[in-house]
Amino acid sequence: MHPLIFVTSWVLLGTMFALQDWVLATRSSNYHVGLVLLIKAWGVQYFIWGFIFWVAWNLLGQRIRRTELLPLVVAGIPISLLCCILEEMIWVACFPRLPLNRPPMPYWERLWFNLDAELVDNLVIFWCTFALFRGIGHYQQLREKEEAAAELRTQLAHAQVHALRMQLNPHFLFNTMNSISSLIQIDPASADAVLEQLSSLLRMTLERGEVQLIPLNEEIQFTELYLAMQDLRFSGRIRQEISVEPELHDALVPAMILQPLVENAYTHGFSKTDREGWLTISAKRQETRLQVRVSNSGLGLLPRTVDRTGLGLDNVRRRLLLHYGEEQSFSIEELSGHIVRVTFALPLSFGQPELSPLTRYGVA
């Protein structure tokens, strides 16, 4: 606290005592004293206290907060006596004409007279303030601890989200490399095409870097590439459809949130049957929320996948929770006709839209 504010509040406290004294004096018949003198006397006394406590807090604040209670009291007794006497010594020196209605006395006699009257009062003031300091100290410590804990929680969440993304990439990367490997022998041209698309995917991922939330449009472009790769592997027997409400192109979503859902649809829905199938992705606005749905035909929810939804879906769920806490929702359900529908919703927020620095027009 600023010393000026600290000392001024003490002087104000003294002034209030002075007013109280004055009110008492006006009612009393045998005791008359001027208001100015009272304010001066009380004001100076509390000014001295304010100054002493401010110095004490700056010199000893850390120790008052940290020391155990018993040694604090033991050490406090001589200090409190010293402070009380010191305060009185200064005050007496400031007001040589006090006490009123008495013959003039030498300094030591006046000091003794005042200590006799006020030592206990002073001790009470000292110890109350001492206790207050200790309380404020504890409160500050508690706040600092809480802030540190919150900071830690955020850092932990960031680290977890980061780790989850790392977990996603290699998983997907190696699966793709495996399909390229098998295509190299039987269909070199397709192997080439998948490799090209994989490179594009990696380029997008690298460019994105550590950014956790990206515009939906980028996530969709990423998913389109992924879908194109799957399309090659499934030789076009899965009809794919993406519909995004135009106003949502810039809505922020966690990076790589769709790919595990699409992958899940392919591994559980399509790869176990050779029938034709379909997959749709839709993004809709629901007032202040963004709702994304991935639905696919296929075999429906296998009993196994209901409780153990697999690494991919679990990742999606955990990342949504880490980013949005209670404000998100995630569900997986089976509709009639073995249709599986995954829905998640999150609070709608928009990124700072930036123009691509690359887009240019050329006349030649």
């Binding site: 490799l195 995917l201 380029r203 690359l358 887009t359």
Partner: protein, 250 residues
């Protein structure tokens, strides 16, 4: 026959290109180089029409080679850049490269780049034939556009665009077999497009007249534009009068 040379400091990269170009009947590889000096002497010696140019090479890089070739005064070969890095795309665009292939690329992507070279060579031949038009009509309208889409660099000739639709802050550009979402406004895009070719038919669509088959009146009195591909686009009444004029002139 299109005579082409390959410049890449990596032998494997050249081998890959040679293998992919095997499928293109009208491309003949007339030389290979692994650095700038060899490229310059090769260009002088064989006068190729097409050069595949790697960007990252020890010594002089592909962009500098391209710049020097075009400033030499001799007819410049058409350039297709091949590189693993996308950060040079703008400079490549500015030196009038035909295309910018990001390694690794598949045969399809290469084929589309070569198709563009064929078109340009044909155009060059035509304009050379009609000597009267030798002074090329100077136009302020863009002929092509560069942007990034799905991790790829696209050098798109505007004549490949069939139609464009607005999606809030974005426009969707539709070519024969792809769509690209681009952060751009309809108004700004329209400014760049030649009004003789691209026509606004609706608040949220622009159509390339070269791909329009007919304008039809619907039973409910509304108008629609039918593209050669069979796609049907709605047309606002306010744009109706203009399109009739333009279609009768074409």
């Amino acid at each position: 026959m299109i005579h082409a040379i390959l410049t890449d400091d990596e032998a494997l990269a050249r081998a890959k290109l040679r293998q992919l170009l095997d499928d293109e009947q009208d491309i003949k590889i007339v030389g290979e180089a692994s650095n700038a000096d060899d490229t310059f002497s090769l260009v002088q010696a064989v006068k190729p029409q097409l050069i595949f140019l790697d960007i990252h090479m020890p010594g002089m890089d592909g962009l500098d080679i391209a710049a020097q070739l075009s400033s030499s005064g001799a007819p410049t070969p058409h350039i297709i850049f091949t590189t693993a890095h996308d950060q040079y795309a703008l400079r490549a665009f500015e030196v009038h490269a035909v295309d910018y292939l990001l390694k690794p690329f598949a045969s399809q992507r290469l084929a589309s780049a070569i198709e563009r070279v064929r078109k340009q060579i044909n155009l060059d031949a035509q304009s050379a034939g009609t000597a009267a038009n030798a002074a090329a009509p100077t136009t302020q309208y863009a002929r092509r556009i560069v942007f990034k889409s799905r991790g790829r660099i696209v050098f798109l000739p505007l004549s490949d665009i069939r139609w464009i639709s607005a999606e809030e802050n974005y426009v969707r550009i539709r070519t024969a077999n792809e769509t690209h979402l681009l952060r751009e406004t309809m108004a700004r895009l329209q400014e760049k497009l030649d009004p003789e070719i691209f026509l606004r038919i609706h608040r949220s669509s622009i159509v390339n007249l070269q791909f329009v088959r007919e304008v039809r009146t619907e039973p409910d009195g509304e108008y629609s534009v039918i593209l050669l591909s069979g796609e049907k686009l709605g047309m606002s009444r306010s744009y109706r009068a203009r399109i009739s004029d333009l279609l009768t002139n074409h």
